[in-house]
Structures are given as C-alpha cells and as structure tokens.
C-alpha cells in the first residue's frame, strides 16, 4: 500500500500493477483509477489554468502524464494548486489505487458501503471511534462498522450517504451542520475534517452536510502518522480557527455563544461511560486505547471547565434512541425476514396503549407508524374524515415478501387516505359489514397508518418532525406529547378497569392508591410496552394451579418463533413483513384477534383425557402479570366484537371456573402484541413409550453389544449423540434418520440443531424440548421448570 509522505513530491503514485499488491478481480475492467484520475485532473486543469500548462508535460514512472507537473509553480497560488493536485492524486492512490478499497455492494441487502483497508488496524478502530462520537452528538457523519477481512485484516466500512455531491467551502461556511460540529471536530482533533480540497464533507440528497472521512482524528494524522492527542488542553480551539488552514477558512468567525451551546450538547451526550464503551466496541487495547481514553476524558473535562458547563438533567425523551432501537431490533431478527420495529410512549387518552409502533420498512420505501385511536377519538375522527375533501378512499395493506421472495400485500381494511409530498396517512373506515361480529377487519378498527416516505435513515428528530405534520393534519397535535404523571396515572387505572371489567367510578380511593402503586410500565416484548402488575400471577395461582400453553401445528414454525424472539401477533407479523401465516390469520384479522397471540390455560381440575398432541410451548405463568390480556372460556377467534367482548372473563373469573369445574380444552387467553422468548419455559411433545426399545434395536443392528444404560443416556443427550454413536457402530445413516424422525422429541431437536439452534434461553435444546403423556403434565413441567430457575 502506498503511504502519503509528508512532502507531496515523495508521494508514490504507482498503480496496482506495479504496487506489489495483487489487483482485485473486480477492478480488472477499470485497472487503474489513478490513471483515470490523472486524465480527469488534466482536463480540469486545462479548463481552469488556460495559461501555465507546459507544452511537453512531464511524465512519472507509470508513463502517464502527472497533471501536477503541468502547473508551473511560479506564484504561491500555483504552488498551492500543484500541492493540492498531488494530494488529491495521493488520496485516490491510497484509497483506490494500490489496495482493494473503494465502493462495494452487499450481495443480499444491496446496501452500498465505502470500504477502507488499513495496514494498521488501529487506524480503522480510531476512525470508528470518531464516527461514533459524531453519531452520539447528532452530527451527520459516516456511519461505520468494522469487520475482519478473509485474510484477517481489519477493514472499516461506511454506509452510503445517498446522492452525495461535492460541497464548496462557501457552502460549508453557510451550513449549520458544518458549523455546529466544530467543537466536536476540535474535541476529536479532526484536523482534516474539511479535507485539503474540501472533499471530506459532502452534501447528501437529504440536504445535509456529512463528515465522511474522519480518519485523521484523535491520535492519527490523515496520512496515518501519529500525532500528539493530549487530554490536558484542546489547542484545536485556536488552530482550527486559523484561516491559514482549510478548517480555519470554513470555521472562521465562530462565536463564543455558538461554542458554548456546542459544549453543552457535548457534555450532555458524552460521558466517561460512553467513552469507555466506544473504545471497547472499537476493539482498541493496550497503549493506544489508553492514549485515546485519556485524551477523550481529559478533553471532556477541559470543555466542562473552559465553558463552565455540566451535564443537564433532562426530562426523559421518548424519541431518544428510537433509531438505535430500530437498528438493534433489525439486527436481532436478521434472517427471519422481519423488519426492525420499536415503540414510543406518547399521549394522554387519544391513542390506545399510549404507544406508537414504528417499523423500519425502508426496503419498501418508508418508515411506517401505526397506532389505534381510542373509541371516542376514533368516532370523532370518522366524522372529521366524512367532511374532509382531500381524503380519498384506499386500503391499508401490509407489504411483505412471500416464501418465494415476491412482493405481496396483506389487505387489512378500507381506509381514508391523505397524501402529502413526504407522507401517506390512512385512517381505517369503520365496520360497514352487516355481520358486526366477523366482518370487515375488526383488527383494523381505529387503526391509523402513517407512512414516512424515505429510503434513507432518519434521525429521531426528523421522524418526530414528520409525525408532527401528520398529526397536525389529523388535529391530534396534543397526542404527540409524552404522557405526564397524570396521564400515566389515568392509563394505569384505565388498563386495570379494562382487564378487571370494573367501572372506574366504582373504584375506592384505596383501590386507586393500590393501582397507582402496583402497576408499572414494562417492555413486555422487545419494542412493546404495557402496564404490568408484578406478582399478580402468584395470586391467580393460589386459586388453582395452572399452565399456559400454545400449540405448534407446524414444527418448522418453532424455528421461526425462536429466531423472531417469541410469539408475535398476526397483525404485527404482517406489518413487519413476514409471510408466515398463523392458524387462522384471515379470520383473526376479521375478529380482531390478530392484534394478540393465542394461548390456552390448563388447570388441575380440567376434565381432559387426551394426550399432548401437537408440540406445546409452555410459558412462565408470570405473563399473567400483564394487564393487556383478555380471556374467553371457549374459542371465539379472540374476537373483540362487542357481543363477545362483553362476555370475556376477568382473570379471577377464569381461574375460579377452572377451580370449580375445570376449563374447556378450547379456552382462549389473548395477549396483546406477543410473548417474548424468555417467557418460554420449554416445549412439550407427546412421549413415545417405544423409543428406548427402538433405539436398542437400532444400536444392536450394528452387531455389537449394547449397555442398557447407554440407551437412556443417548436419548437424553439427543440426536447428535445418537448419530455419533450409530456412526461409530457402522449403522447406515438412513436408518438413524428414520429412527430420529419417528420420535417427536428427537425430530424437533434435530430440526432445531440443523437450523443452528443449540440452546434456548440458555437451556440446551435437548432439555428445552421434553416429553409428557397428557395435557396436565404441562402443569407439572411448568412447576419443575420454575423450580429449576
């Protein structure tokens, strides 16, 4: 790899062929970017320097004219242009010339990355730290990740900023994005932030100025040499304002007030814990890590003292971290064709559950935001929509990719639509069917869908701004505020009364005090929060011992449930782009059951005589602490239709009936949104009494003696151990396969193993999947599993 030299005349302009590094096959079509650059620079110099180019330009060792040599450096200006020309060529040579850096596309996601390969891995790590600091401060900059190359080197990849264009110094001086990052640039000692030819800050199609090359930060110079990064002071607060340098030309004239505001923002968002975290995340170690740590922590302290600022205690901002949460969630469900999602807690009383669901559907061209209006608010909205001339009729439909990768839509309901340049707002039309119990998408009732049209990642502030516009159209501005203490209190009472079917007016002051003290908002599924009353499930268990189960009718679904992080309601699965359908997804969308996941409760007094049947997931009974579940004694497809819903049971009623005469096998307990994986205690399958005999027979077919204890041990240890033992005995694979397939437990364990799942919630799958003889065994197994915790 060629290195910059301190004297531009020493710069190595060698092309890949002569640089001693094997050229990448993809670069064959364009074998020499440096030559191409030289030609283009030559053209631009000819047009801009009409006088001064020599008739016989000098050539370098590649045989290509060196454009810099065409500039006859007679004046200081010409000297400067010559040096800059050489610096641009050096940069191209370093990044595209003699190593395989440059632009790449991810074959699966089709995301584009600018990748840089450094011989010194710490340069990549330090650049990663600098980019992370900008991200933390909300300053547009390269979003980078580190990865190891196939030959063990460390590379840094920055995601494409769409539609970038070169920015002029004048544009930078006028840009708030550029100016507001000055203190961060000085904090990071990012001397080369602007770039020699203003090439390190670019304008994206979002109109914002992005710092795209921050490799000259902290302990390194842009060319990779070391620099002193002291924590005791920040000399860059002066030097980077000196107009003799590129940075100073852009930042000249920063006021003390601007610097103070930037210092406050920096101190609010960056603390010592963040610095430690980001250094660890970058993988820095040893002396380099300590240099960076001491420098950053020292400079943080310096900023506090120099500007007299301390971290401000701020009101919790529900929007903070939204984009990070979306990213983390997308990462979590990678490989399950689910889109990342998260929720934001807002509102007082207009929005059901006081929450917005945000889904990153930029693969389909937008972020989508869903919420349901509360009954009274929805009735008002319907009246408003009837009179709104700009609203036209269309449908709410969820786009997803089917199992063959084709784009499909799941149709939910008819809706009024309002469209603006960057938004599509849809409000579900009310139920027009004569059959009020099962018709026209009850799961769509009250539903509002807002699509924010973009393929680019937005900041939390930008998402909020877009939603403000949408809420203004709907005259719901008030709802976009965070719930205050009073709203939180009212929501607790409303949830409690909803679940316990109590009229709020009948609550005593003692009841209210107890509800306020006991209920708390908890994230009960990644990205979904509701009110929970911790310990309530234990009270229910005192009425009658019980188990909660969910039957799996397609064994492959278990793999998807585990990968997706739990059981997710039909409506959410479709919104998040999954083609996997449940047992009766269409019916559930009609009844309203699609907002929830279905479970059943088994009590000790049930009169069931049947076996386990399909594999059954058993859940931690403490999910009954949630206040967002409702209950039917028999199958109603989870209907929320008024005629059924009024007959739903309270938790006490349900368990009291279980105690008195047992519950019917088809009872339904509906949990809103989903139940997370960590609430799954295990999976129970029908026990096979002949499994030991069959395995004994199989092992003996190898012609050797079999220790009777070995059979039981192998069955406990699962398919891998059985396969290994059979192989050592020379038994045909197909016979082993037949044996494993014939047993429900071994078959399911094998499927999970093949899918790369070795344990669930820290329990090996061989233990997680267990056997039972009848459905009441589920109660015993639940208790056993809890006893093990």
């Amino acid at each position: 790899m060629s290195e910059y030299a301190s004297d531009p005349s020493e710069t190595d302009f060698q092309a890949p062929e002569t640089g001693g590094v094997t050229p990448q096959p993809e670069l064959k079509k364009y074998p020499n970017w440096v030559e191409l650059a030289k030609q283009k620079i030559q053209e631009i110099l000819q047009s801009k320097l009409k006088q001064g180019a020599s008739a016989e330009p000098a050539t370098d060792q590649t045989g290509v004219e060196s454009p810099a040599d065409q500039v006859e450096a007679e004046t200081p200006q010409q000297e400067e242009i010559k040096a800059l020309t050489e610096a641009v060529l050096a940069k191209i040579s370093e990044q595209l010339g003699s190593n395989p850096g440059g632009w790449y596309e991810h074959q699966e996601t089709h995301e584009k990355y600018y990748v840089k390969y450094y011989d010194n891995p710490d340069r990549a790590r330090v650049e990663f730290v600098a980019n992370a600091v900008y991200a933390q401060l909300g300053i547009p900059a390269a979003k980078s990740e580190l990865f190891e190359t196939d030959d063990g080197r460390l590379a840094i990849a920055a995601k494409e900023i769409p539609g970038t264009e070169a920015a002029t110094g004048e544009q930078m001086r006028a840009s708030q994005d550029v100016r507001s990052g000055f203190l961060a640039d000085a904090f990071l000692a990012n001397w080369d932030v602007v770039g020699l030819v203003n090439d390190n800050i670019v304008q994206g199609s979002d109109g914002r100025m992005h710092r795209i090359d921050n490799g000259g930060s902290l302990i390194y110079r842009a060319q990779g040499g070391a620099k002193n990064y002291s924590g005791s002071e920040i000399p860059e607060l002066q030097t980077m304002l000196n107009p003799e340098y590129s940075a100073g030309k852009v930042f000249a004239g920063m006021t003390e007030e601007e610097l103070h505001d930037q210092a406050q923002n920096l101190v609010n968002r960056i603390d010592k814990a963040f610095i430690d975290q980001i250094i660890a995340q970058a993988g820095l170690s040893g002396e380099v890590a300590e240099q960076v740590r001491e420098g950053l922590k020292g400079r943080l302290q310096f900023i506090k003292e120099r500007f007299g600022v301390e971290k401000e205690e701020t009101e919790p901002n529900p929007w903070q971290g939204v984009v990070e949460r979306l990213r983390t969630d997308a990462e979590r469900v990678k490989g399950v064709e689910f889109r990342g999602h998260t929720d934001v807690t807002i509102d007082k009383d207009k929005i059901e559950g006081q929450r917005l669901d945000i889904i990153d559907a930029r693969d389909a061209g937008y972020y989508t935001v869903y919420f349901k209006l509360t009954q009274g608010q929805y009735d008002q909205m319907v009246q408003k929509m009837h009179g709104m001339s700009e609203a036209y009729g269309s449908r709410i439909a969820y786009p997803f990719k089917d199992n063959y990768g084709y784009d499909q839509q799941f149709d939910v309901t008819q809706a009024w639509t309002i469209e603006t340049e960057d938004l599509e707002i849809r409000i579900a039309m009310p139920n027009s069917s004569k059959d009020v119990d099962k018709g026209n998408g009850r799961a769509g009732l009250g539903l509002v869908e807002i699509k924010i049209k973009t393929t680019e990642e937005l900041t939390p502030e930008m998402i909020r701004e877009k939603l403000e516009k949408a809420f203004e159209k709907l005259e719901l501005q008030e709802a976009l505020t965070s719930p205050d203490d009073e709203a939180e209190r009212k929501f607790k009472i409303a949830r409690y009364c909803w679940q316990q079917k109590i009229d709020e007016a009948s609550l005593t002051p003692e009841d209210i005090a107890r509800i306020e003290a006991n209920l708390q908002r908890q994230e009960v599924f990644p990205g979904y929060s509701t009110m929970v009353e911790p310990g309530k499930s234990k009270e229910y268990a005192e009425i009658v011992p019980f188990a909660i189960q969910h039957g799996i009718y397609n064994e492959n679904a278990l793999i998807k449930i585990i990968r997706a992080g739990g059981l997710i309601a039909t409506q959410e699965r479709f919104r998040r782009g999954s083609a996997e359908t449940g047992m009766s997804s269409g019916t559930d969308m009609d009844t309203g059951g699609a907002d929830s996941v279905f479970t059943r409760i088994i009590t000790e007094n049930d009169s069931m005589s049947g076996g386990i049947g399909h594999p059954q997931i058993i859940f931690n009974p403490d999910i009954l602490d949630r206040t967002d579940w409702y209950s039917y004694e028999t199958d109603k497809y989870g209907s929320t239709a008024p005629s059924y819903f009024s007959s739903r049971l309270t938790p006490e009623e349900l368990l009291q009936r279980g105690k008195n005469h047992g519950l019917p096998e088809n009872n339904e307990q509906m949990f809103r949104y989903g139940i997370p994986l960590d609430k799954m205690l295990g999976v129970v399958v029908e026990g096979n009494t002949y499994v030991e005999d069959s395995l004994l027979y199989l092992l003996r077919s190898g012609g050797q003696d079999v220790d009777s204890q070995l059979v039981g041990r192998l069955i406990d240890q699962g398919p891998s151990a059985i396969k290994a033992e059979c192989q050592s005995r020379g038994i045909d694979d197909y016979m082993v396969g037949d044996f494993i397939t014939s047993d429900a437990r071994l078959r399911l364990i094998d499927k999970l193993n093949v899918a790369g799942i070795q344990e669930v919630n820290g329990i090996p799958v061989e233990e997680f999947i267990t056997t039972g003889q009848n459905r009441k065994d589920l109660i015993k197994l639940t208790q056993e599993r809890l006893g093990q915790e």
């Binding site: 364009y30 631009i44 991810h106 990865f147 070169a166 030819v197 090439d199």
Partner: protein
Amino acid sequence: MLRESDLTALPEKNEAEVDRLVQSLGNKIDEIQASSKNEKEASDSNPTNELEQGEENV
C-alpha cells in the same frame, strides 16, 4: 456483521468517487483563483488610496 465475501466491488461508484474528488479539486482551484483575483484587486486599489491620502497630506 459484514463479511468480505458478501461484498461485490462497484466500479461505477469508484469512478463517481474519482469524479467527486476531481470536482472538489476544481472547486478549490476556483476559490484560490477568486481569492488571488481579490487580493490583486485590493493591492491594485491601494496605491490610489495612498496617493489620495498623500495628496491630502501635502
């Protein structure tokens, strides 16, 4: 986590990258030439001022 084997090089974007850097260089040359012109104009106008001032002084 990215893997090198998942990445395919994009020659057309590399060419665009070269274009962008050359464009930046062009913009910078314009700036240098403009500031050089301004300086020249400023220095050209100075003698007149000095002369006027000198005349006053006389």
